[in-house]
Every structure is written in C-alpha cells, then in structure tokens.
Amino acid sequence: MKVALFIPCFVDQLMPDVGVDTAKVLRRIGCDVDFPMEQTCCGQPAFNAGYWNDARPLGERFVKIFRDAQAVVCPSGSCTTMVRNFYSELLAGSALHDEAVQLCQRVYEFSEFLVKVVNRLDVGAAFPHRVGYHDACHALRELRLKQEPREILRRVRGLELVELPYCEDCCGFGGTFAVKFNTISAAMGEAKASSASTANAEFLTSTDPSCLLHIDGILRRQNSRVRTLHLANILARTEPAAERSSEFAAPGTAQ
C-alpha cells in the first residue's frame, strides 16, 4: 500500500527519530512510504490560539500537498485530529473545503492505521520492558482510539504493558497552554509523571510526541528513572533484548 507520511512540524525539527521509526515500521509491514517534502505544518498552533485566518492557508496548503495520497499516516493523534476533525470547520467557505473533507477520510493516526486499515497488530517488534501507555487526549477523545495502541503493544515481544493510574487524565501539554499557563501545565505533567512511577513503569509511551516532549522534560528534570518513547520508537525495535538492552534500559534499572 502506498502511504504518504505526514510528519508534524515539531517532530520534523525536534523529534526526527519518531518520523524515522514510523517510516521504518511502515516499510517493514510492506508499505510503500513517501514523504512529500513540501509539507510544513497543518496549522494547529494558529488554529488553537484562535488565529483561524492564519491557519486557513496552511490547511489549504496541506490539502493541495496530500490530495493525491491513497493514505496519509501521521505519528501524532493531535495533528491527525487537526486535519480530520477541524479542517471541515476551518476551511468552511474555501474552494478546497469539499476536497478537504474527502481527504480527511484518508488521514490516519499511526496506530489507527496499523489496526484499522492494514490490520497488522503484530509488526514483529521486540521490547522486553515494563511500559505504561498514556492516553493522549486527541487520540482518545477526538479520534476515539483507546484499545488500538494497547492491542499493538500487547503483541510486542517481551513487552509488559502496565496500566497507569488516571491514564486518561491530560498530561497538561496543550500547546501554548504549556507556556501561557506553565504552572498549571507543569502540575498536571508532574501528576502524569508520578503515575508512571506509581505503576513502576520503565518506559512511558503514547501516540502523541507532544505529550511525550512535555512529560519527558518533567521526568528528566525530576531525575526520574522513567523514560519516554513514542509508540513508533518501540515498534521499530526488533533486535533480541540482550543486544540492545544497554542502549534502552532506563538508568538504574536492573538488567
């Protein structure tokens, strides 16, 4: 299947490994992966801040870039939500509105694509660690993805999936919210970070790199042993545990 990668702007710049691993997993399961180089941002930062007039041309730009794609796959539930759930409202009155609505049906979050489109729950990954899954808000409540990422994680060799207390609580990122209301955002992030410790998880994973960026900054500031990895980072690992464990083991955890 031909797949166009939609790599969110901040992932492109700050977390390229998430993009690399997404491509790697998709190729492993037999997808023909393309990355349209013209893409930049879906417009979500401006849209969420209320600057719809500044977000609109980016929405139109996105539609033009991806209009011919058979399937668009994005390793972020949040950016997928922007396109799938909000483009119709943002582009109301635009000449590209109807085309946007059509395209939205073919834009998938990464785990959603694996489960619902290609039905590949087992992607041949191995990751012998205790992993907690954080329900990212947009994936959970806008895209209604709850079991999909869990189903995939359960099929990763050696991986022990642990449920975090309050796993559906927001981590507090929220884009500009994390800057404008940093005290509230950090308190929410700290609660999320401590839920991973409570569950005795070695790693915390999610479908949203933005949540992970936030939680990771807080965990490292607290000198926590818990590390964050995007779902794609985990699924990209195939090597037997013994060879790779030193690279990925959380410092201090027994190996």
């Binding site: 690399v20 930049t40 401006a46 609580d169 927001c170 005290t183």
Partner: protein, 470 residues
C-alpha cells in the same frame, strides 16, 4: 492583560503548587468518579440518555419564548408572581423591595447559583437583613465568608478537621470531629433560622412549562423547609432552565443526580407552582419567581454557542477537568468555575476581562465527554479564542508572531531554514549555559522542564539522505 487574568495567573501558580489542596480534591473526586460510574451503569444506554437530554434542552432553548410564556401563564393563574429581570440589579432591587415591604428580617436561603451570580445575599445583608445559607456546604462556606468552591459541592476543598475547627470557632459549644455530630450541630443551628425566617429563597433546577411549576432538588430537604415554613417564597432561575413538559423530568431528574453526585435520584425533588391555596395546609402566602436574563438572551442569539444554555448545573465538567482539579474553584474568580464557567463567563461578564479562561485549558475534551446534555464545551473554548482574535482583542506581539509563523510555514524552504537556524541557536545557547536563565528563549517552558535534546538534523534532512531505505 486584564486584572482578572493577572489575578487568575497568581492564584493558579499558588494553587498548582499546593499539594495538600490537590490531594483533598483528588480524594473527593475519586469518590465522585466511583459513584458516577456506578450511576451511569444503571442506565441501559447512557449515551442514548445523554442524547435524549440534549434533545429536550435543544427543543426548550430553541423555543424558549413560547415555553417561558406558557410557564408564566400557568404559574400566574395559580396566584404566583413572575418578575422578568433583565439584569442582576433588577433582580436584586425587586427582592430587596419585596423584603422591605413585608418587613422581612430573616431569610432562609437554599442553594442557588443564580443568587451567587447576582450577589443577592450581600445585597440583602446590606439592607440589614440576616441571610442564612441552609445547604450544609453553603452554610460552611458562608461561615468562612467564602464563595462556593464548586457549583454542587461548595465546601469540597475542606476536610472534616477544617469544618470541625470552623464550627468550634463560629457556632460555640460544638467540639467534635464526628461527621454526624457536626451535621447535627448545623441542623440545630439552621432549624432556628427556618422558624425565624419570614422569607425563603430557593433556586430552581427546572421550570416546567406545561404545568407551570418549578422543580427543586436538594439532598437535605432544606429547600422544602424554606419554601413551606416562611411566609414568602422567592425562587430564582435563569431563563434557560425552562423545559417543555413534566414528562421530561423522568430522564432529567436521574440525569442531574447521576452527573452531579452519582445518585440514582436526588433525595428531595419538589414541584411547586404558586402560593398556598385555600384548601392547602402548608406553603407560602406569597410566591415570587424571578426569571433572570443577565446576558442569556445574547448568548441565545449566538447560534454557534447557544447550546451553552443547555447546562443543568450538574458540575460533572468541573470534576472531569484537570485544570479545575489543579487550580481549584476559587482561582477562577467567577460564579461558575471549571469548563462551563470558562465558556459562559465571557458571555456574562465580557470577553475582554474573561478571555484568559478560554486559554487556560489544554483542550483535553474530558468536559465535553461527561456533559449530560452534550454541550460542546472544549470546542467553544476554541470558538471564544477565535472570537477574541477576530475582534482584535489580542496583544500586537502575538498577532505579529502568528503572521511571521504563517509566512515561515507557507514555504517548505523557509521552514527548513528557520528550523535549522532555531535548532542551531538553541544548541549554541545551551552550550553557553543559558538554560533556565533570563536569556533562555524557552523561558516559561524551561522553568519546569529539563532542556530539550536538540537533534543535529531534522527529519527532512535525514529523509533526503535516504533514511528508512533499509
């Protein structure tokens, strides 16, 4: 920044760091969550029930003119007085004059968020009248001289020990840490107020159009005493509380109780539609209903956000909101805190002063998911933000910032160059050790986060070199 916004930021910073506060709220809401989950499970189809409630409220709000007139006609025919108050001031003036005319000195008031909205108790006290809050939670916060913390559980932020100390100080002769004894003490105290009161003030959960009655729900029966012992009963309601038919209560009553506290139904649910008639043994001699607009008609004009008027004030969105749980009810500085307050307050008190509440959200959507009448709460926060931008209420530097951002993002080349420059700059600066200092370009972020790891190459650079081709 408005003064309300500055105050919010200050209070939020304090409360966010207050771990004891967070623990109290967490415990309270854990109990609520458990009860509410059990409650929702009692419905054979919870989502269908929400849908039905939304439809009832949609019908009522979209034909409000008709239902309100029908309601008024029925109520008036039974001898009740209806006063249409356009503003809070109109409502306060009417009630104050009524109390003065009847020589009222003591008032037994039960819970009413509309009374909070128009600061009624303070207005009556200024005229020399004694106002007793008779809902236990409201009684407690009144003793502390505080507004309610939460619209359903006003004293949620207090522990048993706090209340014990408060009663010991304020009620005299009460020295106990036992909940039963504390409740008993409050009951004895309030019973005197009920007997002394010449006027009872209540809210109204619903205004039932087809029978012309108000529906009042309490768990303590205090509203029932307040509407039957005193000579005069004044009920306050926002105009949005009207529902078409008595039959609608069959689902709205259990829905309100389940969403509010997890109960199958609230303990006392009373319908009252006028003063005592000649063949009745109890009830007030006079019955007055205040129908408050106070900005609601303007909200009704807004087709996009009209569904905010569906709200039945159950408080579920407050409990679900991670921001509410972090900053607490008082930090909002509004009558209605939490998600519904953040959406509603700019309409009641102005977007300029209260737009910050629309930004004080991660847009997680937990509120929308629990709302029993399906108000699109978190999307309305987005709409408020858009309105603030379109009405030019945002600071110039933010507007300029987004123009620049847009220009950058409209070209892949520009984005690539800007990204490389930004990453390079951060790497240099962090090597120079500015992280966390005043020069850190990630200032507010760096206060609570370890420095981000800045990669040398972007994804697109790696892709161009042929990654993943393996």
């Amino acid at each position: 920044m408005s003064s309300a916004a500055a105050e919010f930021l200050r209070e939020a910073a304090t409360k966010s760091a207050d771990l004891a506060h967070r623990e109290i709220i967490r415990l309270g809401i854990d109990k609520y969550d458990e009860a509410a989950e059990r409650g929702r499970a009692r419905f054979s189809d919870w989502q269908a029930a929400r849908q039905r409630c939304q439809e009832i409220k949609w019908e009522a709000i979209n034909h409000q003119d008709r239902y309100l007139l029908q309601f008024e006609q029925q109520l008036t025919a039974r001898g009740g007085h209806v006063f249409w108050a356009e503003t809070g001031e109109d409502a306060r003036a009417y009630i104050t004059r009524l109390a003065q005319r009847c020589g009222v000195r003591t008032i037994a008031k039960s819970k009413s968020m509309v009374a909070e909205e128009i600061h009624l108790a303070a207005a009556l006290q200024k005229e020399g009248m004694q106002v007793f809050e008779t809902d236990l939670g409201e009684f407690i916060v009144q003793l502390r001289n505080e507004p309610p913390y939460h619209i359903v559980t006003p004293a949620m932020h207090l522990t048993r020990t706090d209340i014990s100390a408060l009663f010991k100080e304020k009620l005299g002769g009460v020295d106990s840490n036992d909940p039963q004894e504390l409740v008993g003490a409050a009951r004895r105290w309030l019973r005197q107020a009920f007997f002394a009161a010449e006027m009872g003030i209540t809210g109204a959960n619903f205004l039932v159009a087809d029978c012309g009655m108000i529906a009042v729900s309490t768990n303590e029966g205090n509203a029932d005493l307040g509407m039957s012992l005193p000579r005069i009963h004044v009920a306050l309601s926002g105009i949005e509380k009207v529902i078409p038919s008595l039959k609608d209560l069959a689902i709205l009553w259990p829905m309100l109780a389940t969403s509010g506290t997890g109960q199958p139904i609230t303990c006392y649910n009373t319908l009252i539609g006028g003063p005592r008639t000649s063949n009745e043994t109890d009830g007030p001699e006079e019955f007055h209903l205040i129908l408050l607009d106070n900005g609601r008609s303007e909200l009704l004009e807004d087709a996009e956000q009209r569904d905010v008027l569906h709200c039945i004030r159950c408080g579920a969105c407050l409990n679900a909101c991670p921001v509410f749980r972090t900053v607490g009810g008082h930090t909002y500085g509004t009558t209605y805190p939490g998600p519904i307050g953040s959406v509603l307050t700019p309409h009641l008190r102005g977007l300029d002063e209260y737009q910050h509440l629309s930004y004080a959200s991660s847009l997680c959507g937990a509120c929308t998911d629990v709302c029993p009448v399906k108000i699109d709460l978190h999307h309305h926060l987005l709409h408020n933000r858009r309105n603030a931008v379109n009405e030019a209420r945002r600071p110039w530097n933010e507007r300029l910032g987004f123009k620049l951002w847009r220009w950058t993002m409209m070209g892949a080349g520009r984005f690539t160059v800007a990204g490389a420059f930004g990453r390079g700059l951060l790497r240099v600066l962090y090597r120079l050790g500015v992280q966390g200092s005043a020069l850190d370009p990630l200032g507010p972020w760096a206060r609570f986060h370890a420095a981000p790891r800045i990669p040398a190459k972007s994804f697109r650079a790696l892709w161009r070199k042929g990654i993943g081709a393996d």
